[in-house]
Structures are given as C-alpha cells and as structure tokens.
Symmetry: C2
Subunit: 457 residues, 2 copies
C-alpha cells in the first residue's frame, strides 16, 4: 500500500492496533543471560522471583521462547485512552535542516504521565489486580514512572506506594502532586517507614537520597506487606515486552504507508523505550528478513553502552536485587550532579546488552548541551517541547540527517520521542540561562566504579 | 453515516479538516455591539484600530457579514502539527457516573501551549508576518496565551515581547521558561521598560502587578515601536473567528458518526474557547436549522454572565482600551486571591454576551472546590489531568449526566476540554492538601464595582 499519501501524523485505526505484545527474546539466537541470585550466583526461577514480582510478570520475565503474548482486553481498553500514539513525519524539521533525509518520530508523550512508561505501568497494575493483590510499591526519581504507575493503579483501584528520591520530592513537587491526584502515597526516600530507610538516615543524616535506596525501601515494603508486590519501570524483560507496543504500532504504520526506515534511533537509560521501539524491526533483522541500523543514544555523563563493561552486576545500588548480565558502569556509579536529564541508570536491559554485544546495534554518547540545543530546535520547528531524555534521540537523528545533507543520501530516519519536557523546565532554564555544562567521567572514575563489580566464578 | 462505529477517539482525516473559519456574527440576527472610542464614545473603525492591531485582523474584527474566511495555507500547515484535536467519547466517565447519558469532549490540550490558545496565536502571528511587521507584544497572566504566542512567533520568525503579571512571573517560572525556549522575551509587569510601568511602580512600589497593567504596558510598547502591533488571546471577535476551528472540527466529527449533541458546554473566561466550540452549532440554531442547549460555565468567584451587567465597559483595568458592550463585573473587578484557576477576566466576548442577552445560551457559576473534585474524577477515569479552567466544563457536564441518571434520559452531552493542568499543580496541591476554599463575591462588592462602569449617553 505504498501508494497511500503519507499524512503529517499517522494515527492507526482502532482495528489496526496490535492485540499481542512481541517477545523479541524468542527470536534472538543468543538469548539474554538469566538473572542470578546475588548470594548463590544461581539462575533465579519462578519460585525465587514470585515473592517480589506478580506471578504472571515473573512468567513473562523468564519466558524467552514464546514470541507473542496476547494483550488482555482490559489493557487494550486502557491503551485506547492514549493510544495509538502518532507516527509523525517531521517535515518541519527536515525543512529546517535542509536535509534530503526523511525523518519520522513515534511520539509517546501525549498522556498525563508524559511518557511511554504508561505502556508497562498499566500491564503491571493489571496483573497485580488479577492476582488479587491490594497494591504495589515502586521507586521513582524524576517521577515519570511513578506518575504512570499511579495512573494505572488508580484505574484498577490498587493501592500505590511510591518511594521518591528525596531530592526530587523536594525539587520537583509538581510530579509528586500529579501522583497524589491519582491517589498514590508518595514518600520521600530515605524515610522512617522502612528498616533500610531508618538505617540509612542514621548513617547519613540529611542525605538527599538515591534511586538505589528508594528501590531498597520499595522492595522491603512490598515483601513485608500482605498482598503487595514490587514493580519496576525499565530494564526488565517484562517491561520491554510491554513496550513492544511502541514498535508494533510504528511497524504497522510504516507498513501501511510503505515507509522503510534505514536507521532507527532511541534514547537509552534502562532500555524500556529503545527496546520497545526496535523490537519488531530487530525481530526481522535477527530472523534475516530485513536489515536496519539501530542506534542507542545515551548521555556522555552516564555511558553504559559506550564505556561500560558487559558483565554481571547488581541491579541496585544497595546490592540486594538479582544480578543481571548487562553493560554496566558499576552499581555504585552516580552521574555527575550537573547532569540535568534522566537516563541515569548505571546498567542496561539484558536484552539490549546482548544485542549490542552481538553487534546487532550501535551506540553513541552525546553531551547534554548539544542535546538541549537539539531539543530547542525541535521544539521550535515541530511544536512539541521534548523531554531531555527523548532529546538524546533527537540529537542523533539530527546528526544523521545532517550527514545525509552532506552526502545527498535520502535515508529514512525513524526515532522515538518518548515524552514531553513540561516537568523538566528547571533543566531548560539552565540551558536558557546559558549556565548548563557538560561532564564526561574520567577513565579513573569508571575504573574505580568497575572495581565494585561482583566477582563471578 | 450514523451506522459508523464510533471509536473512543475520533481523529478526522486531513482531507476532512475545515479549510475556512466560520464567522458566527454573519448569521446572528442581533449583531454584537461595536467597540467604542473610550473618549468620544463613537464606534471605532478600521483607521482607529490599525495603529494597535494588524490590518487584516482589524478587518476580521469589524466584519459581521462575511460568513466564512478561508484559512491561509501557512496556518493550515501549522494546524496539522497539533490538529485535528480528538473528539473523545468519555465512556470511562459515563461508566464511573453510571449515567445513561452519552458524553463527548473535544480535547484541545495536546500541544505544548497546553490549550486551545494556539489556534488564534498562529493566525495572529501569520497576519503580523504577512504585514511585514517585526514583532508583536502581548500580556499574559498564568502564561497559556503567552506560551501559545511565543510558539507561533517562533514559527514565523517574529519577535515576541510578553508582559507577564509579576506575581505569575515569579510563582510560575516554568511557563516563563517555555516561552523563553521559543525565543520570546518575557518581562515581569509592571516594569521599568514602559512609561506606564514606571508610573505604576512609583505609585505602588512592590506591587505584584495585574493583567490590566500588563495590557497597558504591552499596548504602549506596540504602539511606540516601529513595526510592532499588539495581540490579544480572547474576548475579541477575531479570536472567536479563529477558534471556530474547534467547533467546525467537532461538528464534522459529529456529523461523520451521527452524533447529535443535546447539550453543549464550555468554560467561559473571555469566551475564546466557548465561542469557538459552539460557533457552527449556534449558527444552526440562529438559522433555525437545529436546536441545542448551550451552557457557559464560569467561576462563582468571577461570575460575569450570571451576576454581571450587560453594559459598555472598558476592556482593561487601565481604562485606555476601547469600550465593549458585554456582560461585565466592572473593569476594576479582581477575583478573590483564593481563586486558583484562570477565567479571571471581568468581562466577556461581545458575541457571547449578545447571544446570552438574546436567550440563546444559558450560563451557570460553579465553585472551585467542586470544580477540582470533578477534575480529580476526570483525571482518574479518563486519564488526562485537566486544566482548572477546563474543569469548569467538566463539572457542568458531570452535573448534567447525573441529572440524566435520575431521569433515565439518554441525552448526548458535548463539552470542551480546553487544556491540561501540568502547569497548574500548585492549585492541585491546595486541593490535594484539603486547604482549597471557595469565595463568592458579595452583592455589595459587585455594586461597588459596577459603580465604576463608564457613564454612557
């Protein structure tokens, strides 16, 4: 159907929407390595993981052979509130760059959580409800994941306890208030509500908290309360499975209008968006049916892919969670304080790590001032103020389009615009005021961090 | 085509989009009264208004006979970035209320300005550019209009000078930063940059400013600088003309799917959204082709329609702008400090005022705690956190739907959801914390304000 005129924004019809998630692992020749018990270093199975995660989600986490999982009707119902998301032909950006390249982006930000995180939040809340649970716990940094989860829990009438890194809780009160509108309880972490929180507060009075500490508190509460489980918004295999909805819709829209991307670009923190966007395209690549270039874009201040080690590491700073084999900077790595956006996680999805190790995907690191420069241009010409995270992908897409301008190639570039920056104006203010700076960790810093990697047999 | 299955969200195809704005005045039997010169009380014509507004916009302002104005191609190009906006079937809200009523809403918030204001901003910027101007000036309170205008000016490479009420400039820095991303200069008002600003600062050192003062500064700059004009985001006839795009899209979507609204509801501050939404439907009503109930919803703390006088009044607090015949609380009226949302204007569009005076439209006033209650319910079940302004319409739509529940009537209710509340979280926080209060002005307060109305011959 390549003869269809391509509209500026492609919205699939309800009847064209995906009804199953795609599990890329089923088609991967080299499967991602299993999670290991941090004490025994043995692979963790269903019984090991179910005290922490919902049963159905553990099954999804461990399943690397089933290619498709039907999306339950209740989740499809919720998806229709904000999906399909549009695939946009960025013709204003093309014109501004004067490039012969064709640029498309899949825009996931038109919902109140402001990002793609809702795609997995609603799935995780659904399975918790189906299991008869009372509620879930989680951690959040800037608050995108916490907001998404609070919306999902509100929809299924589940209790939602969010541990929000204290510095964000205080400096970003507006996302906190969005979560409260949705009925979530939001606790600044570390807190007096958990043993680990009290311990940390005793050792470090006045600490502003960290994601690792918030994870530990959320896990402690989930495993200690009857009828609760812990949920996580990125990194995990189950999250990439749910996020495949992004790629499946994108692929359907491309197929409908005869769009064949040459390069597919996504920002990468823990990998939830990138993994979701590329899934069906990467599936074609690993099955040998088509070829694409994939580019993961990460902050130069937190360069897991480009400077990390592919090794087993702790998923949390507290070193209590399972070990995952991934590109990692070490579980104690914390990006420089001048780093304004998200994408701060020290590790990376095991699925994406394996694909990168196998040479199926490229990665590049970009500095934040160049990211905000791209964000500003994009906001002005395409009319949407992007999230700092998403703007990493914009930066790379612009750079590829400018290369096409030099060579005259009419490549088709597709990128994921994961969200909007409406709650990130403090970072934009720094950029507007010309006081934003860059930081690249030194080799010495990284070596010190790698020294903390667990010793494997 | 009533047999088409109605999707949850109706997006018109690009080929189905309106190509002309509808000028309701052309069909009104009683035309809105003309603007008068504040000194002479004589009707203002083209030559009187062109020092302040762009020529083409003055023509639109004065034209009450031409029913349609073609939308220039450049504006249609910009519209496609964020239009069509979806007409949403609020089935989750219906279910939550247990009402037999059908509820639809036209959602204008999915753009970075966060509201419908962009529809007129881009038109006004276009005509300024076409006239060869260098830039425009305006005032903004909370910042929705200023944001929309800064986006529009950036698109056409026009300078944009925004005078932002000082208290908002300081308390709502994030909208200010969005405007700066789009290259606008934002000045807290009153400022030292104008004669009127210096005069006010001298008389009231430390004043936190007002919309009326910001208007005066913006007009002074526009009329004093070569190549500049002043623009305004509501109240004016030209604004309602541009905003008719909301109603035209809604009508096209309704017609496509055989939806026949019984009741059409919009929030009303200056009238830009309400006027735009109802235009084509009201056109049918005044031409005797169909009947609808129209309900304007305003804050009980700023009740222009329900408690104001239909009289000639100043459009600004400074009493330098033209006189308009409208429902007004008096140009010195300022809503109580506890009023959290927008819809603060003392007057109302002359078009809507005439329709209300002629009994073609109803109005009701609602208190803000009940508005935020409706907003919270809507956010939870429909997944979008609404602007406080828009939530006035939600409140009335819910109330009408609950009446249907009592009577068993299956009425079709349509309302305008003008925007999102992402920059209004301070107000939501008050509601979350249970410290939001209501205030209804006393008769004595209003009488004192009415005493300031200009004495007409």
């Amino acid at each position: 159907m390549a003869e269809n005129k391509i509209p500026y924004k492609i919205y699939l019809e309800e009847s064209e929407l995906p009804t199953a998630w795609y599990n890329l692992r089923a088609d991967m020749k080299n499967k991602p390595a299993p999670l290991l018990n941090p004490a025994t270093h043995q692979p963790m199975g269903f019984e090991d993981l179910r005290p922490v995660f919902c049963d159905e989600l553990v099954k999804q986490e461990l399943d690397d052979t089933t290619p498709y999982f039907d999306i339950p009707g209740e989740i499809i119902d919720f998806y229709k509130m904000y999906r399909p998301s549009p695939l946009v032909h960025a013709e204003f950006l093309e014109k501004a760059l004067g490039t012969p390249a064709k640029i498309y982006y899949k825009f996931e930000g038109n919902n109140t959580s402001g990002s793609h995180k809702l795609n997995s939040a609603i799935a995780q809340a659904y399975y918790a409800k189906k299991q008869g649970l009372k509620g879930v716990t989680t951690e959040t940094g800037a608050g995108q994941w916490g907001t998404a989860l609070s919306m999902a829990c509100s929809f299924f009438d589940l209790d939602c306890k969010v541990y929000m890194v204290k510095v964000s809780y205080e400096q970003k009160p507006f996302r906190r208030e969005v979560m409260r509108v949705y009925g979530a309880s939001v606790t600044p972490s570390p807190s007096e509500t958990t043993a680990i929180g009290r311990k940390i507060l005793e050792a470090h009075p006045g600490t502003s908290g960290s994601l690792g500490c918030a994870i530990s508190e959320a896990v402690e509460v989930a495993t200690g309360l009857e009828g609760y489980r812990y949920v996580l918004g990125s990194v995990l295999n189950q999250v990439l499975l749910h996020q495949s909805i992004i790629g499946l819709e994108t692929k359907a829209a491309c197929d409908k209008y005869g769009i064949k991307p040459d390069i597919i670009i996504g920002c990468a923190g823990g990998g939830s968006n990138l993994g979701g966007l590329i899934s069906p395209f990467m599936g074609e690549k690993v099955r040998g049916e088509a070829d694409y270039r994939f580019i993961a874009v990460e902050p130069a201040s937190c360069p897991s892919f480009t400077r990390g080690k592919f090794a087993y590491d702790y998923c949390d700073t507290g070193m209590v969670c399972p070990l995952a084999k991934m590109y990692t900077l070490g579980s104690n790595f914390i990006p420089s304080a001048n780093h304004a956006g998200g994408l701060r996680y020290h590790g990376m999805s095991s699925v994406l790590s394996q694909l990168y190790a196998d040479g199926l995907m490229e990665a590049r690191a970009v500095e934040q001032t160049s990211v905000f420069q791209a964000a500003e241009l994009f906001a002005r010409v395409e009319g949407t103020l992007p999230a700092p995270e998403s703007s990493h992908a914009i930066r790379a897409a612009i750079d590829e389009a400018l290369k096409c301008k030099e060579t005259g190639e009419e490549k088709t570039i597709l990128f994921g615009l994961t969200g909007t920056g409406y709650f990130d104006m403090t970072a934009y203010q720094k950029y507007n005021d010309g006081v934003m700076t860059d930081y690249i960790p030194t080799d010495e810093e990284l070596e010190a961090s790698f020294a903390q990697l667990p010793k494997m047999d």
